[in-house]
Amino acid sequence: MSKRFENIDGFVRRVRTRLNRHLGLDILVRCLGAAGAALILVALSYILRGYHVPLFWYPVVLLLALAGGLGWWAVRRRSFDQAAGYTDEHFQLKDAVSSYEGFSRADKHEGIYELQAEHTGSALEQVHAAEVKYRWPLRTALICGALLFSSALLTLRADSPRITTARLQAEQILIETEQINEQIKDALEEIKEEAKNEEIEKLIVPEQLDKMVEELKETPDLKDAMRQYAKLEKQLHKVLSKLEQRKDEQLYQKMGKVLQKHDRAKALGNRLVKKQYKEAAQELQKYKIDKKATPEEQRKQLEKVKSVAKHMAQAAKQNNSSCKAAELAKRLDQAASKPGQASNSSSQGSGSQRPKGAPQNSQSSGAKGSSSKASGAKGASSKGAASGGSGSEGSGSEGEGGEGVNDSLDQMGESLDGLDAKCKAQSAIQSLCKSLSECQGKLGNGSGSGKGKGQGQGDGGGGDCDGDGGLEPGTGHSDRTNSNINNASSTGDKSVLKGQKSQGPSINTTESASDGSGSSAGSNKRLIKQYRHQAESFIRREDVSETVKSGVKEYFESIHRTEEGD
């Protein structure tokens, strides 16, 4: 009897195994179909955007489908009772197996239950579990196969020309950004080399620039690249603005022009005009009064200094500027014309104005000057000035006055040295800015058609601005010269665009109008408003260099001020 029970259970187990296997096959076919459909959707989503379908989707989707199928199978697989029910149904046993299993679970085996088990066992002996056969879902399988085949076909499609171009461009941009970053790093090193001056280091803060350059990354994204370069450029412009010494330069240039006219100071004048400040500082050393020289020679030297100082002071006065150069020129003039007083004033003034590294002897000389004040330095100087000066008393005061002149000359020399260093640092930063702008322009041009040359190269130093720029592609031409710009800055006429030396955009174009007479009845306010909007939107663009932005901004502000003035 127990053998028969085992037979019934074994039969049901065999049926269950077969049923679960069949269910697994069914689910597998359906999962493959679902995977095929999903792959087609994925492929279409790529193809419609112009991309080649990445092959990694195939194993991913298939694995997901199989995992889902496995889960489904685990949920749906037949239990023992279900298998018993199926056995009854399939072999038409009229619930014999189900009832037998139910009675067995209730531990009912005797009497009529035993008869029932016998009956069920004998019924099962006449059938075989292998009769439970799998019927292949041909239609579903065909559909699944078609879906998978179609999805496989879609992988053969290559990228669209547009995407290929974009990809190449991205690769190009990546390489270019890599190169640009290297260039910027080298340029920064150069700047740091040039700016090995405590004062300049304080201004440019190399660590900050280092950090920014370190943050630069190689990217295939044009906008990202432009954004990071624009950010760096903005920072560089801030540094540039700190290094601003235009007024000093202008004044020294003017002084140079004046000095060029005089034979005694022609060499110094030439250096100043040519902006060779270091050489000019060395030249200034020649004007120092030699203490070991005879009083006569000292007087001559003083006369020479006096003449130079006078011309310089005149130039400063004409320029009506309150820059450091003007102050130094004035001080030199005072020191040369009233050596004793100048020395005092120099010593007094040097406390606040002397650079840190300046020698301290001027102060001691000042002290000396003040001590000699009572003993007739003033008188001696006036005497000396009136009669040409003679005697040990006069020579003594001249000697002390010569100290003051020498101090002033030293200060001016130091100022010129500093100016020279600043100029070099500025030049290096400007060249970095220029190369950054060029890189941005190159990236912008390389990145695609339709974008205008976003920024132009304003050659402020040269005068003409070969400005490719503006909102629309094209070339602009500015007839404005640097002299005008400089005049504008000196006269304060902001309606004239101030260009940046050697660098910067041009936003001015010359528009020729046909000759004719007539008057405009309409107001230009609407037009200006429209231009302002365009300009503002232009300014907001991240891929526009800071130079161009500031130029445009300044231009419209100057217009606004002019209107208000009117």
Binding site: D95, A96, S99, Y100, G102, G111, I112, E114, Q116
Partner: protein, 334 residues
């Protein structure tokens, strides 16, 4: 094989043999109507009452008479008419002279028998019909405060004519529910028709032998109750019965629309008992869902009370029960 198993096997064999012998004996006289004969015998074995419905002349009365002859049981017939009184059915106390005294003595009515044929039961008044209620359910009669038990076994086989409705009193639901089966006696086929004529048109009638006794019937009834039913099959049975109720959520739309009241638990009891008989007759020792499906219609058709819409649209209880059974079978296959 244990003793219990052997005795169970013997009892079942006795059941099957006796049932087959009775059926065979009845079939000597009754031509065709095999399903009706089997169902009537199933009901009788299970101790239930049967309501036979059919047009006159189809052999309803003859069937009942033949069964009584084959079973060697006391048979009585009441022809129900509108003027029939309850006392005419159950009996009454009559005044008699006994030992020079006049005393009331209970005179048993025709219900005191083993097989009662209540012919055209729907022609009697409800009062008289109700007189049968106690006898059918309790199998006893109470007259003047005295309860008189009926003989065992006791079966009521009632007939009614479905087409002639004038002057009839439809049976109340309470009484209908007491019938185990309601069977439709159908018109015989051409072949059966000619066979009937041949058998009854001659000079001799077939002789009906006694093949079982009342004791056999009781014994058969006892073994029926031993046939087991699995829990899942029992649940199926309960589902089938419950789905006849319009208030049950899973009930078919037609049931919700056309049924006023569904089948009672007594219907489920009848179905289970009849299914057991069917299982044994099929040589099985357990009840199958197919057995339930087979007996669901005769066991529930008279227990379903159709709504006004159901009556108006000519909906039948048979169709509704068949729909439920089909639905359950489909659900089982799925």
């Amino acid at each position: 094989m244990t003793t219990r198993t052997v005795s169970a096997k013997q009892a079942i064999e006795h059941f099957c043999t006796t049932f087959a012998a009775i059926k065979k004996e009845i079939s000597k006289f009754i031509v065709g109507q095999e399903d009706v004969i089997e169902d009537v015998l199933s009901a009788v074995v299970c101790g239930g009452h049967v309501l036979l419905e059919g047009v006159p002349g189809l052999g309803k009365t003859a069937l009942v008479q033949t069964i009584s002859r084959a079973l060697h049981l006391k048979f009585k017939r009441i022809q129900f008419t509108p003027d029939l009184l309850p006392a005419d059915v159950v009996g009454s106390n009559i005044l008699i002279q006994k030992d020079n005294e006049k005393v009331f003595q209970f005179e048993p009515g025709p219900v005191f028998c083993n097989i009662l044929l209540a012919d055209e039961i729907n022609r009697a008044t409800p009062k008289t019909q109700s007189a049968l209620l106690e006898t059918m359910q309790e199998k006893c009669v109470t007259v003047a405060g005295t309860t008189h038990p009926l003989d065992k076994p006791f079966f009521v086989l009632a007939t009614q004519n479905p087409i002639e409705q004038d002057g009839t009193y439809p049976l109340p639901e309470a009484q209908l529910d007491r019938f185990f089966f309601k069977l439709h006696v159908e018109m015989p086929s051409h072949k059966e028709f000619s066979q009937i004529i041949k058998r009854t048109g001659g000079t001799t009638e077939p002789e009906i032998n006694i093949v079982a006794t009342g004791e056999d019937m009781l014994k058969m009834g006892r073994i029926v109750r031993h046939i087991p039913i699995d829990e899942t099959v029992l649940n199926y049975l309960v589902h089938v019965v419950r789905l006849t109720h319009p208030t049950v959520d899973q009930a078919p739309e037609a049931v919700r629309k056309y049924v006023r009241h569904g089948a009672s638990p007594r219907a489920a009891q009848a179905i289970l008992a009849a299914s057991r008989v069917r299982a044994m007759l099929a040589g099985r020792y357990h009840v199958a869902r197919d057995d339930i499906n087979a007996v669901a219609v005769p066991a529930m058709r008279h227990r379903l009370i159709l709504s006004f819409e159901g009556e108006a649209e000519g909906m039948t209880a048979d169709a509704l029960i068949q729909e439920i059974v089909t639905r359950m079978s489909v659900a089982r296959s799925a």
